[in-house]
């Protein structure tokens, strides 16, 4: 049976994570269809049609889907999903918001944040903040799954030539409304897609000191992340939190600055290829996962790092 991938998008561009989810779908095997539910989102459907491995794009254009309100989008996905063996979405905040509603509507359990496909019905997923890996098997007629992007390479954005087909849409459920959004603006790469990530923790002391990290990041083309402690203290906004309950990243290089290395933080970055830790406490647990550890005061080390890269 075919696989339905629910596209992550903002009505104008396809989210990068959808490419990883298409790869997961390809690993399951079968025709891969992508659903683009939104409004005025034809450009997204065209982009999805070009993704290598996609054989059909379903375009559901309706004002009710403008802001991905789950009350409106989930019934559509559940209705379409009945005709598929699997329904997949990226484990972004949008995917996590919508997909469990789809699973419950289909009366099946959802498998969250898979990192590996073993077969069409068997998957791996981290549990307990990544301290254990569960292999789970689903007997559901429709397997509803969210996909952790760091577990799968991105499918090629070009190379496919799928047909785009408009589908009938559901109505506004009328129980929820979008009020507004405050989106972080940054010229730096997106945290979950960046090749290099530099994160600061409580050791940064305040938000202004993050400027030290931004300077290094700009020289390296890196994204900047943070620990929960730095977010809770108001140094930086919530969308920068890396960890079990924030964003999961696995860049080529992760630099942890003034971060102790609590399990909840490690859960979000320990699959990075190379990990660097800069911390003045040589006993800090972050050094246990660091490939290169530097015991130093960050206020001396980071400016020096900036001058040397």
């Amino acid at each position: 049976m075919a696989i339905l991938v629910v596209a992550d998008h903002n009505n104008s561009a396809l989210g990068a994570s959808t490419l990883n989810t298409v790869t997961a779908a390809t690993a399951i095997g079968g025709d891969v269809h992508v659903l683009v539910a939104g409004t005025g989102c034809a450009a997204v459907a065209d982009a999805a049609a070009k993704v290598a491995g996609v054989s059909k794009v379903l375009l559901a254009d309706n004002a009710a889907y403008a802001n991905q309100l789950p009350e409106n989008v989930a019934p559509l996905v559940a209705e379409l999903g009945k005709g598929y063996g699997h329904v997949l979405a990226s484990a972004t905040t949008t995917g996590k918001n919508i997909l469990p509603r789809v699973a419950a509507a289909l009366d099946v359990d959802q498998i969250s944040e898979i990192t590996k496909v073993e077969s069409a019905d068997t998957f791996q997923r981290p549990i307990y903040a990544g301290n254990a890996i569960a292999t789970v098997q689903s007997s559901a007629a429709v397997k509803v799954i969210t996909v952790r992007s760091t577990g799968f390479d991105a499918a090629a954005a070009e190379g496919g030539s799928a047909a785009v087909e408009a589908v009938a849409t559901a109505n506004d459920a009328g129980v929820s409304a979008f009020v507004g959004e405050e989106l972080a603006k940054s010229d730096r790469p997106e945290l979950t897609a960046a090749k290099i990530v530099i994160s600061g923790g409580r050791g940064m002391q305040n938000g202004d000191n993050f400027e030290l990290l931004y300077k290094v990041a700009d020289k390296l083309g890196a994204a900047v992340g943070a620990s929960r402690a730095a977010v809770d203290a108001g140094f930086v906004p919530n969308d920068m939190q890396v960890g079990q309950t924030g964003k999961i990243v696995a860049p080529q290089l992760y630099v942890a600055v003034g971060i102790s290395g609590a399990i909840q933080h490690l859960a979000g970055m320990k699959d990075s290829k190379v990990i660097v830790a800069i911390n003045k406490d040589e006993e800090a647990p972050i050094f246990q996962v660091a490939d290169y550890g530097l015991v130093a005061d960050l206020f001396e080390a980071v400016p020096e790092l900036e001058s040397l890269v």
């Binding site: 996590k96 469990p100 301290n131 254990a132 959004e181 919530n238 996962v289 550890g293 130093a296």
Partner: protein, 249 residues
């Protein structure tokens, strides 16, 4: 308005769990158990709504073993008025939990249901959303701000790109994120008082819910371990290694 809060008993967040040698799960023998941290935030939010006069009664519910009464007592000590334990020795998946919660919602008719965004053991992040589908209620997940106004609730949500605010018709579901509030500690007098608050024990059967699951765990294994790294002495040495050894900059 009545507020229903769902809480879960989980391994304490400070515990680094170990996988059992027979790969059937993680070793929970003699491990400290606590209320899921996101559920503590859910209880705190309900208590604040009551202090503001928005909530009239707070009911806490958990689906779990007999021992989960401890977490219900904690919630009662924090300010909940009464508790319901839906007792089961089995591990219940999020869909099963959501079905039980739906039955409780039908009975209790709350104006607001508050859950955590995620259990720190299963890391599922599903139950609130599933309850939404089963009841038809709207959901404000990953909440960092909750404002009840008349027959609506405005929920500010922590999303990947920043913050989003939605307006939901009541009754509604809220799932908590870390920044929603900072939970208080229970005072000794309140812990004593909590012992006398009502705690009702039920079964899923009696609520007419079948706890079957379409997912089974085949095995649980340890994550891959990282090779031990090295300490560098200077920033210059670090940069040299990153350029020439790791080749990542």
């Amino acid at each position: 308005m009545k507020v229903l809060v769902a809480v879960k008993r989980v391994v304490d967040y400070n515990v680094k769990v170990r996988v059992k040698a027979d790969e059937t799960g993680v070793d929970l023998a003699n491990v400290k158990m606590s209320m899921n941290p996101f559920c503590e935030i859910a209880v705190e939010e309900a208590v604040r709504l009551k202090e503001k006069g928005v909530a009239s009664e707070i009911v806490v519910v958990t689906i779990g073993p007999k021992e989960a009464q401890e977490q219900l007592r904690t919630a009662l000590a924090l300010g909940a008025d009464r508790a319901i334990l839906v007792e089961t020795a089995e591990e219940v998946g999020s869909l099963g939990v959501a079905k039980v919660l739906k039955a409780v919602v039908e009975k209790e008719q709350p104006g607001l249901v508050i859950l955590g965004k995620q259990s720190i053991d299963s890391d599922n992040n599903q139950t609130g959303q599933m309850l939404g589908a089963l009841t038809g209620m709207p959901q404000g997940t990953f909440a960092s701000k909750v404002e009840v106004a008349g027959d609506r609730v405005n929920v500010t949500r922590e999303i990947d790109g920043g913050l989003q605010t939605v307006a939901l018709n009541l009754p509604a579901i809220v799932t908590t994120d870390l920044r929603l509030n900072e939970p208080r500690y229970a005072s000794l007098p309140n812990i004593m008082k909590a012992k006398k608050k009502p705690l009702d024990v039920q079964t899923a059967d009696a609520l007419g819910v079948a706890l079957t699951s379409t997912v089974k765990t085949v095995k649980v294994t340890p994550p891959p371990t990282r090779q031990a790294g090295i300490k560098v002495k200077t920033v210059a040495e670090l940069v040299e290694k990153l350029k020439n050894e790791a080749k990542v900059i």
